[in-house]
């Protein structure tokens, strides 16, 4: 690893606990350091401060890290797989897959689907199915712009179906789904953090085994094949890991746009490399930093206005993506 890369990664790593501290302490209710200490080591659920830390602030912070990192890695994987800097789990419709599966589950009113395992299972299956649909299209649609359009069409189609489902569902399940659909990091409960972390670590763990084939894939599929990379299997593994990471986030936070698209591009601009070890570490850290920052903003605005996290990521992310497109044209 080059020295410059190492320095940038260390800076990001140092920033992480700093931003995490701000994230934990910025809420409307001031908490003492004793509250934080006791919440971990001497917990009593009758103390409001301690309760707040354990049940709300900490799960929300962990979710910001998990969601930011997961979406950024998923975006990086898609961009290298499709050799397209504008690819991402959101734009290619993988999030839509998770969304519609969750919508069907929640709106059906069947209680099994609203349990942790039920929700995550649905989101993963939905993400996986839509991931393979996009992969299938990519084998025929060689033009990268057309593939993006196909992804956007899949997204529109799915949201139309989802709207249709909403009109025929009960008021209660509609409310649950609407709140979920706005995207939020604070719906997660402490009891869910365990399973989320397990899936997250699995996703990251398997991503490290993709570093070598991803480095080769930069040369194109045929060139990778001639270097002994099993391209067919690789495509499937990439889609499965992307679905795992993007599905996980969508299940628990709802749709969060632009992280998967903007952060991998930011990493390429910052690190100026095609070495996927550096890019993977960069995306893990910058994804987390970005979403923590966005959520600090959400919390800072809370006394005045309730802004969904998806709105912030879009307001920051969309202009950045336009900037990337213009920069490529120049």
């Amino acid at each position: 690893m080059e020295k410059r890369h190492r320095i940038l990664l260390i800076i990001a790593l140092v920033l992480l606990p700093v931003l995490a501290y701000f994230h934990l302490t910025i809420g409307q209710i001031q908490l003492s350091s004793a509250d934080f200490y006791n919440a971990f080591f001497n917990y009593s659920d009758s103390e409001t401060g301690q309760l707040l830390v354990r049940e709300f602030r900490l799960p929300r912070l962990i979710m910001a890290i998990v969601a930011g990192s997961s979406l950024a890695i998923a975006g990086m994987l898609m961009q290298t797989l499709f050799k397209n800097p504008l690819a991402g789990p959101y734009i290619l419709g993988i999030n839509s897959g998770a969304s519609i599966a969750v919508a069907l589950g929640t709106l059906s009113g069947i209680s099994m689907f609203s349990s942790n395992i039920g929700l995550i299972g649905l989101a993963l299956i939905g993400a996986l199915v839509f991931g393979f649909i996009v992969l299938g299209f990519s084998l025929f649609v060689r033009n990268s712009l057309s593939l993006l359009l196909v992804g956007i069409m899949i997204g529109s189609f799915t949201s139309a179906i989802t709207s249709l489902l909403q009109t025929i569902s009960s008021a209660d399940s509609l409310k649950v789904f609407t709140i979920w659909g706005m995207g939020s990091l604070q719906q997660v409960e402490l009891s869910q953090i365990g399973i989320i972390t397990v899936f997250f670590i699995l996703g990251i763990f398997f991503s490290f085994f993709l570093i070598k084939p991803l480095n080769a894939l930069v040369l194109g599929e045929n060139a990778s094949l001639l270097l002994g990379v099993p391209v067919k299997n690789l495509r499937i593994i990439i889609i499965v890991i992307t679905a795992l990471l993007a599905g996980l986030v969508t299940a628990f936070c709802g749709p969060i746009a632009f992280v998967g698209l903007a952060i991998p591009n930011l990493c390429k601009m910052l690190f100026k490399t095609q070495q996927h070890l550096v890019l993977l570490l960069g995306n893990i850290l910058l994804g987390a930093l970005f979403l923590i920052s966005c959520d600090i903003l959400v919390q800072g605005l809370e006394p005045f206005i309730l802004v969904p996290i998806n709105v912030i990521t879009s307001i920051v992310g969309a202009p950045f993506v336009i900037f990337i497109i213009l920069k490529r044209l120049a």
């Binding site: 070598k212 080769a216 040369l219 270097l227 002994g228 990379v229 099993p230 490399t273 095609q274």
Partner: protein
């Protein structure tokens, strides 16, 4: 090194027939033929990217049909006619990708890998390019880098699809003489397709030409320009 027996090359229909032909280590062969006569398809078949219509190709006494891409990556390297350069990819890192068949699960380069990469760089005389980006060097320099990448792959066979097509005259001569010396000095078996009939004849490179009327591949060491023009292009 490469042995053809009653080989028919093409997609559904055979394009090109090779009755019997051996290409040995230490030899360079220039594939000459009209457009659409199967030069690229032949190179694809050697690289295992295109199945044969019938017959067989043996590489190092093993049938290509029985070799997977992992096996082939230790035997044959391939250079395409144009390497466009890749954003943020340095020449050294690009050449290092030639070591992919040898690196561990995470693609970490060993000291042996670095030695082979540097050896390839020195052979091509492109040490001055190592730290440059593949997008900021000339077409000629990119082609030399691509050949260095193939060399770093340490395969007994290197195949090249019209490696001189996008180069100026000086670079054409340079690339061809480097390839010739790789065959002589490093005992590589080199097969390239080319339309540079004049330069190849001038350099006395052995020629494999595709006869346009019979669609057979014919090996010759004593080709003349008029013979090639007549048999390949019907002129």
């Amino acid at each position: 090194m490469i042995e053809f027996k009653n080989t028919q090359i093409g997609y559904q229909q055979p394009l090109l027939f090779i009755d019997e032909l051996n290409l040995n280590s230490g030899e360079i062969h220039v594939l000459i033929g009209a457009n659409g006569k199967g030069k690229t398809t032949l190179l694809k078949s050697i690289n295992g990217l295109q199945a044969l219509v019938s017959g067989q190709i043996e590489i190092d006494h093993r049938l290509t049909s029985a070799l997977n891409h992992k096996d082939l990556s230790n035997l044959v390297a391939f250079v395409s006619s144009k390497f466009e350069g890749i954003e943020h990819l340095k020449v050294y890192d690009f050449i290092a990708l030639g070591r992919t068949p040898y690196t561990n699960l995470f693609g970490r380069l060993s000291s042996e890998d670095h030695i082979q990469i540097q050896h390839a760089i020195n052979t091509l005389g492109i040490d001055y390019l190592s730290d440059k980006l593949t997008t900021e060097i000339s077409d000629g320099e990119r082609q030399l880098s691509a050949i260095a990448r193939a060399l770093a792959q340490e395969t007994p066979i290197i195949t090249l699809d019209e490696p001189t097509a996008f180069l100026d005259y000086a670079n054409r001569v340079k690339v061809l003489s480097i390839l010739k010396s790789l065959a002589t000095n490093q005992h590589k078996c080199i097969v390239l397709s080319s339309h540079d009939i004049d330069i190849c004849l001038e350099m006395n490179l052995p020629i494999l030409y595709i006869d346009s009327s019979s669609n057979h591949l014919i090996k010759t060491n004593t080709a003349s320009k008029s013979l090639l023009l007549q048999h390949c292009f019907g002129m």
